[in-house]
Each structure stands twice: as structure tokens, then as C-alpha cells.
Subunit: 334 residues, 4 copies
């Protein structure tokens, strides 16, 4: 294969962003097809980006000019569409979460193992963020020693009215669980959840404070606050026996103006993780072309993150510390 | 009173530092007397600082040229000496912790109430640190909205070999408990403790991760890591509904040298909290002279911090979330 | 044209870096040909990157599978090769400086005007750096008001032994002159040069301090210090009537380790300007494909930067403030 | 002397601030007397601070309960009053500038030499700022190598309507000249001045850009911008052969709020240099009590700073580089 022809299912906010990134140029890739349940929306974007709009997701997956599939449709559809792409033998990048239920995630594992090769990547794009990548490199280098703590903050400026306290754990926190597994290179063993008060301006939901412990004991604490008002802000500090390494996000300039000295905080994830998405797509395409694996999340990662989520939900409901289930990792995923 | 004559009990590391601060000039104060169980040590310092060395603590407390007493002797002696100062009707600043056992702390409360006026201040000096003071001012101003989270890190470069996992909770963490009560202006309701691995270079103890929740629900998480190697580093970020305010400690310069750009981290608490100690003593002396209260910790604060400590120890031993006992606050302490 | 086939002349440090960037994927571009005076070096790189090695620069420029030429050969050859590319009617990106002498720069202007279309881009890649781009955007937005000062520092960790005090002005400072013209959007009127002492470890040359003033009066001061030891560091602060905006370069993480808290400073320009080079190439290729202009330096910019350089050299030799020549800008370059 | 009784001449903004500092407690000092040309103003402050108000400056200087004099009256009166204090044999701290004309400064030198001991300190308080002090310590330590450049910015939020372009050099810049001499430990040899445009909102004056060169060649560049709008901001970066050290001013907290992450910039010098003023007074009083010299500016420093000012004014008027006069330093001032 000299070029990977990309089909995208779902042209909502994320799907449209992603489609524009592919159309704008991801080396080795060409956007060829789009599909959305809102056919007009897909058609309009397809025209703008010089791609073909297809009426049905199945048709996109089956299309001879689609070599690989990017799934950005509603969360509930991710797993079923992912399974179809696997069945078609086509590499598939599934936006997170890869499955809405555990048995779906397990079905993906079985299907991929049956296919006999890695076809699934999950869109936990932070693994490609230069900051997270550098944190991992520093940890591996030994500069900060063995990990003891990982302090994480995940803040959105505002969130949709449908977001509930439960969804903050079940959905928003997923990026953090995957990032913790990625940074620490091991599984999460236990989960504890403590909820602060409900903010006045976001009455429908409580922020959450999640404390995980990895199998070797590293403590991972996660603030998830989806209505932080001042901006979109994702932070992490990894504390090792010899030092700490932390994300230093932010714009490439500082501003001194109106009695403030510092940086401007972005209002959503796009400026913050623009490079992460671009690099995720570049590395995904490169992996398809070369057959080499990349550092992205695979089906197993998506599954384990779901088990962490399940444990957190149980911990939240019970007020107790909960063990994360540890299924045996198949040889295929080692 | 035009001048407060200060007597210091205990001339170890802290007591000597404090004595030098008083000798160097705390407005309205004059260092007159020193006492230590090591009489030669006290005598040598007394000569250097032009004060009188006394053989016994009782004699210092009773001395006619001592108007107020600063207790820096070993922790186990704090409460008994504090009670004697109260009995002598002399204002007393007790280094933290003010008592080694709960009944001692209660005895101090009873004695002070019996004396009918506030005589006790506890040396939780962070309340006078310009950073903590500014965090409190910002919270009160409404600039960051109502508090939801308080993230704290307490790191020493190295710690004494006698320090145990238990003492990290029982002693090192005390400053954090008092600071949380000070910043939030309310009591702590529950405590959870999770312990990360034991660092290779500090085999005798585990760092600790303590999660408190205040009575109104604010989540306070505290990393206590007494062997952080790279330096002495105390941080706190208060997350409110509208924004966050955080400590910005550090030297008044940045250095770019040897491939690093940033600040030099101090190796112990002295440069970090030098101003806090100075201001603590200035405000203590001013309060004695004027009769006005200051923002320092009183006997009640010392007592409640001890109850938080007790709950944390129980939480650590049991692995469970533990409620902090909430005795009724006497009218005297409102 | 659906794809721009790129030929690169010169495969030294810069040329090799650039070739790898094109081979790694610049959307819309394909690296087809390489040439170097060291034929073996070109052949080896060509094999690695799946391109054709050509023996002569003329042959590369004329090659039917080369649509656009990137010139990274020694400085003395830039202009002559650029003229040949213009003569061939092929877009050409010339590494800075575009010409070694003034009459060469003028010849490029005449040739391009004769060709009747913009074919020349000069590799002042900082214009594509997200930091400089953001500074320009902030200035245009009015957030910091009209510009008064532009403070610049240009520091290399070490420099080649052949670098002289004169070359620091004639070559190293060129990026700063172009950046000042780009940020301020106007020409430079005067130049003053003051030289600090010669560093002990770089005895062959003095660092330089250059003060320019733009035609509307903005003061631009530039430190050029090519042996700064601690790392590669390029800074700029634009001071406007209402505030300031400054570069905030640096890695995406901070490190607390070994008594230091801050960032790691890179040792050369590659990590610092990696994105700038990538974006320069992407925008160059996009401009060739679409015919739209980009914000890169053109032949006129290269010429005016040379005149600033000439004025600085005169100012340095004379110790006097020197006026920068202001030739009339041809309509073609407005 | 066991206590230094302080008399203050001038109770305007600065004098009142200073008087409150002394009344609030400078160890070893007691504020005893105040005088102002506005007798009511002096009387009111004297009552508040429990001092004696005197009608005439001469009476204050002569008063038996005044051991040392602090002169905060209008600039034009500094030298004459200073001479009287010297004549009275009393230590005197003169707010900057110590003299309005050169012959006044020379008269002070002669008078002090005639008195046979150091009586004069000049209120260039930055020498006591922890940031400047640390910069000097770092330079002396060799950590950043020999000095090559000193970049300075001096910004006020707004300035009084009477301030002219000339006064910006003659008065505002004085702190910078003294700081440069203090940091570098040597005299200034030459001065060049370049003026950027006049800001729209401060039409009466141009900011200034001053480039000095020390006798050993270090280049000192100084931006003086007294209408910077966003706040009061004083910065300095010293560039040595091995690294750089820079001021890191600012509040002890960072704020993330309203899409900004960083620090709050003060609106005037008081929060910025509060510690510097306090330490200046503490060290002045200590020097009087002990007879030991401190790092403050003396009469010679005030005189040399005046000669730098004179050279800058000439450079500004002529547009030329101007040599700073270098009178021989009397043995008394070595």
C-alpha cells in the first residue's frame, strides 16, 4: 500500500475536525469517504473536502476506496461499527470510548484475535501529545526515579447540560485512566471516588476526585471538573523517587496586560491537543503503511480502561475502595 | 507593656533559629532568657545573643524578666510546658504539635478557658506565609468562587532516619491539616489514607497520600513525601468554582545555566518559610502588646488538628475512610 | 499540479534535516531529487530516502521530476542557484541568507520581476514559528497597543570556530532582522552596534548588541551571543502601549530535579524550531499548489534584510549610528 | 547607642510610607520626630504615630531626640538638608536623587570627607531587594561567569502629568543606573539614548531606551517606560559567559481565572519593593548601631549616578554616544 484511503463515520464536531485534518494533509493518507446519520451534513462536508458522501456506515466500511476507517459517530455505535471494520479486515481508529458496555469491548478483543492481527486503535490521543510523550520518556530515562504519585487535573471550561456526575466518571475521566496506564506502563488495581460539592453554575453534576492505585502501588489522583469556567486545562505531575516531571501546556507566548502576567488559557481542547490529534493520525497512517506498531491505545487498552471505569463507578456508588478486575492478558496482546 | 521580654525553652535547630530571629530584631520584643536540657548549649547561645541562660524550664517560665514563652523543646514536653506557662499567666507560643496526646490538648483547652483569656498560640507558621495569606485573601474575595478542591504537596529533601510511615501522618502532615482548616475556614469531616510504595533510598517509611473532606464537602488531597531528594517544596492549589489560586514559592530570581531554565529549589524549610516565621513572631508580639488577636493557630486549632491526625492514623491502619470527631466548640473559642 | 516534486541542493546538516522532513511527509509534496558537492553524501541520503541523486545542481534544477527547488548549499552559492531556478521558472526556497552580496540580491529581484511571478521564498523560518506568529497576531489584534520596543535575544550554546565578530552581525543576526521586519510590518531605519567583551571560552569573537529603530520609531534591541554555553535560546518581547507579548519557548514539560525547578534548554535549534521548519515547508508547498501567498519571506524581504545587515556592519566598524538605505519598493513587491 | 531615634523630613507619599514602616517596627529604631512644609500634615501623622511634629527641618536635624535623619522632602531640597545633617554629625538617609545639581553632590562629598566618617546613605533601595541581592550573589559566585549584558526594564503603570522625556532620564532612570553599578561592581563609561514614539495616552513624554557600557565593556540596556498601563514592572537579566540570572518578581501566588493563567501585576512600587524598603531601613539602623558598613549607596554612589545621568542627558540631546566623566575616586570612598 502506498497510500491509505480514509473513510470517516460521523461528521459531528470531532468527525468534522478530524476530516479537515486529513483533508489538510496527513502524510500517506487521503480522505476519500464520509458518512453521517445526517446525510446532508455529510454531503456538505464531503463536497468541501472533495470526498464521497455515503448514505450508510456499512457502505463506507465496505467501500473499495476505503482502506481504513475512522469512527467518530455517537458513543453507543462505536463498538458495533468497530466490529464491522474488523470483519472487513480494515484498520479502524475508534474515538473513545471504544465500547459502551463491557461485553462489547470483549467482543472487539475476540474479533481482533480471530482476525489474527492488530486492526484496532482507540482515539486516546493524549499518548501522542508531546507533553505526555516527554513525561513517559523522562520516566523511562530514570531522571526522576521510580514513580510514587501521579497527580492529574482535567478541567473543561463548561460542559453540556446532559453531563451527569456519573458520566463525568464514565466518560470524561477515560482519558485520564488511559493516560495513567500509558505513563506508568502497568494496570490499575484499585479505585476510590470522593465527590466535592456541586458548583452553583453547574447544578446538574458534581466534579469528581478519583484516587487509583496501580498494581505496583503508585497513587494516581484525578480531579475531573468539567465546569471550571476559566478554561480548558489538563495537567499532570508525575512524582518519582528522585524528582518530578509535569505537563507544561500552553500557548507559545506570554502576555502582560491589564494587570496580569502569564498565558491565555484555551477554552476547549482543540488548541491544547491539536498536535496530539495530528500526530495520532500521522502515526496511525504510518503504522498501516509499515505494519509497525505505534504507542497508541489498542483494543486491550480500551478494555482495561473500561474495567477501571467500572470500578470507579462502583466505588462512587458504594463510597468504598473497589478492586479493578484483572483478567488475564491474552498472549496476542502482550 | 511597652516591650515583650521573650524566654525560649529548647535551643535545638528550631529554637536556635528562633532565638536568632528574636535577637536580630522582632519589633517590640527582646530576647531575655534561654533554657535547654543541654545546659552548655543554652549557655553558649545565651552568651552569643546577650541573654540569660537558665537551668530549668520552670525557672524560665517563672522568671520576672520573661513576659512570654516560646516552647521549642522536644515534642513530648510541649503540652506540660504550655500548661505551666498558662498557669503562670504568660502568653506562650508552642511549636507544633502542641500536644502529644489528646488528653494533653484537652488539658490545654481547659487551662486556657480557666485562665479566661487567650494565652496560647501554636507554631503553625504557614498562616503567616505571604503565599497562604494571599490564597486565603483571594478565596475570601470571591475571585475564584466557592472552594471545591485543595491540592497539597509537602516534600522534604530528606528526613531523619527515625521518621516512620506513622510519624509522616502523625507529625509531618500536621502543617497541612492546619493549613487546610485555615484556608477553608472550616473543620475537616473525613479522612482517607493511601500509601504509595516505599522509596529505595528511604526504606524505613512510605510516603503518604491523604484525602480529607471538609464539613461542607471540599476535597483536600495531600501528598506527604519526606524524601523527595530534589529539595524542600511545599505547594497548594485551591480550586474554586470560578478559578484557581496556587502557591508560587521560590527564590526571587531565575537561573538559566547548564541546560536548565528555572529556579533553584531550597534544601530545607528555612529559606522557604523565613518570612512566615518572622511575621509569626512579629504578629505574636504585636498581639501581646495590643491584646488584638492575630490569624495564628490557637489552642482550639491545635486540638482540632490533632483530631484530624487521629482520624488519619485510624484511616491508615484500617484502610477505611474515617470520620473526624467533631466536639462542640466552646463559646470561648468562637 | 496535484503534487509538488521537491529537489534539494545541498545535503549538509540543514539539507539533510530538510530532506528527512520532506521524506517523512509534507502534505502535497514528494522528495524526488538530491544533489551535493559531495556526491557520495548525496547518494547515500538519496538511497535512504528513496530519491534520485544528481551529480550537478544544474541538472537537479532542470530535472523534469523536480517541480520546486530547495537550496541548502553553502551560502556563497545561494544567489546563483536561486537565479537558475528562477530562470527555469521553478519555485525556489533559498536557505538564508539568500545572497552573499548586495548585487546578487538585486539580481534576484530583477529576475523575479522579469519572470512576472513570485518564485522565491527565503528560509527565514521563524515567521512560521507558532510563537512569532502569535506575537504578530496579538500585535495586530490591538491587545497590547502600538509597538514601542522589541527586545530580542539570540543565543547559541556554542558556535563554529570560524565564526567572527563580523559574521555574528553578517550572518547570525539575519534571523532577527527578518523577524523584526515581520513582527513590526515595516522597514528598519537606523542601526547602532555596541560590542561587549570577548568571552574567555570563545576568544575569536565578540557577542554583539544591535539597536535598530524602525521607520515609525519602534526601538529594536538585539543581543546576539553565539557561545552562551547553557543552551540554544531565542527570546523576544514586544512592548506596546497597553502591554507586552513575549515568546515562551520550551519543552512541553517542566522538571523538578537536582535542586532545580524549570525546563530543560535545548542545545541547538532543531527542537526549538522543528515546528517552524515543518510549517514553513507545508505552507510553501501549499502556496505552490494553490498560488496563494504565504507569510514567508520573499525576495524583497531578503534584500531589505541584507540592507539592514550592511548598515549594522557599517555601524559596528564606525561606532556610529547608521541609516539603513531605503530603496523604493517596486510595485511588484507591494 | 542602644536605640536610634529617627527624625523624618517630608511626609508626602514616600515620607508617610517610611514613617509608618519605622512606627511599625524597625529593630533598634524609634521614630521620634516628623517635619513637613505642610505643618498640618506632619502634625496629623505625628499624632497617629506617636511622634513629635516639628515646624522646621533645621529644628528636626538639631533635635536632641533625633539621632539620625531620613530626608523625603522635595528633590530640590535633598542636598541642602543632607549637608545640614552632616554638619550636625548625624547619619542621614537621603531619598534619591541625593542632589539636584552636580555641585551639590560634590558639596556632599566634601562635607562627608571633612566629617571624617560615612554619614550619608542614598535611598536606592533596590540594593536591598532580595532579587537584586541574589543576582549579585550569583554573579559573585561565578555560576553564570563574567558579565556581558545586563538587560533592564523599568515600567510604571502611569506617571504624573509633569513627567517629561527629560525627567524620565534625569529622575526615573536613576534607580537603574545605581542598580547597574551595584550589580556590576564598576563604573559606567559611555551612554547612548534612543527614543521610541510617544504613546497616545501619555502624550507629554517619550519612553527612553538607554544603552550604557561599563568600563570593562559590559553592555547595559535600559527600557524606561513610565506609562506601561498594565502595571508596575521592574525586570533585569544579567547575561554572563556561562548563563544568565534574572529577577523573578511577583506575588507569592498564581491565579488561573477568566482565561488567564499567571500572576497579578502590582500597580505601583509598594508591593514590589516593600521588602527592599524594610531591609534598607533595618540595615541602615544596624549600620548606625554597629558602625559596620552596609551594601547601600553612599555619597560617592549618588555622585557617580548623577554623572551617568548627565551623560545620558547629553546623549539624548545630541543623538551621540557620550562618555561618562570619570573623576578620581578619593581614598575616603574606596
Amino acid at each position: 500500500m502506498k497510500e491509505v484511503r480514509i473513510g470517516i463515520i460521523g461528521t459531528g464536531v470531532m468527525g468534522t475536525d478530524h476530516a479537515r485534518k486529513f483533508a489538510g494533509g496527513i502524510p500517506g493518507a487521503r480522505l476519500t469517504a464520509l458518512q453521517d446519520f445526517d446525510a446532508a451534513r455529510a454531503a456538505s462536508l464531503a463536497q468541501e473536502l472533495n470526498a464521497t458522501a455515503l448514505a450508510e456506515a456499512d457502505a463506507l466500511i465496505a467501500h473499495p476506496e476505503v482502506d481504513a476507517v475512522l469512527i467518530c459517530s455517537p458513543d453507543a455505535t462505536h463498538a458495533a461499527l468497530g466490529l464491522k471494520a474488523i470483519a472487513a479486515g480494515k484498520p479502524v481508529l475508534i474515538e473513545k470510548p471504544p465500547a459502551a458496555e463491557r461485553r462489547e469491548a470483549e467482543a472487539i478483543l475476540r474479533a481482533e484475535m480471530a482476525a489474527g492481527r492488530r486492526l484496532v486503535q482507540v482515539g486516546y490521543m493524549r499518548r501522542f501529545d508531546p507533553g505526555y510523550a516527554e513525561m513517559r520518556r523522562v520516566l523511562a530515562s530514570g531522571e526522576v526515579g521510580a514513580p510514587l504519585f501521579l497527580h492529574c487535573q482535567h478541567r473543561n471550561a463548561t460542559s453540556a447540560s446532559y453531563l451527569t456526575s456519573e458520566l463525568i466518571i464514565a466518560n470524561s475521566a477515560g482519558h485520564e485512566f488511559d493516560a495513567a496506564r500509558f505513563l506508568l506502563g502497568e494496570e490499575i488495581a484499585t479505585a476510590t471516588v470522593i465527590s466535592p460539592p456541586t458548583p452553583q453554575k453547574a447544578p446538574g453534576r458534581q466534579p469528581q476526585f478519583i484516587v487509583l492505585q496501580s498494581v505496583s502501588g503508585t497513587v494516581v489522583d484525578i480531579e475531573v471538573f468539567t465546569d471550571a469556567r476559566y478554561g480548558y486545562d489538563v495537567r499532570a505531575e508525575l512524582v518519582g523517587e528522585e524528582g518530578t516531571v509535569a505537563l507544561r501546556p500552553g500557548p507559545p507566548t506570554t502576555l502582560r496586560q491589564a494587570a496580569r502576567d502569564g498565558t491565555v488559557v484555551p477554552q476547549d481542547w482543540r488548541p491544547r491537543f491539536n498536535d496530539a490529534y495530528r500526530l495520532q493520525f500521522e502515526r496511525w497512517v504510518a503504522s498501516i503503511l509499515t505494519g509497525d506498531r505505534n504507542e497508541g491505545s489498542g483494543a486491550w487498552d480500551g478494555y482495561m480502561t473500561m474495567l477501571v471505569t467500572d470500578a470507579c463507578l462502583k466505588a462512587w456508588r458504594s463510597g468504598q475502595r473497589v478492586e479493578v478486575e484483572q483478567p488475564e492478558r491474552p498472549a496476542f496482546y502482550r
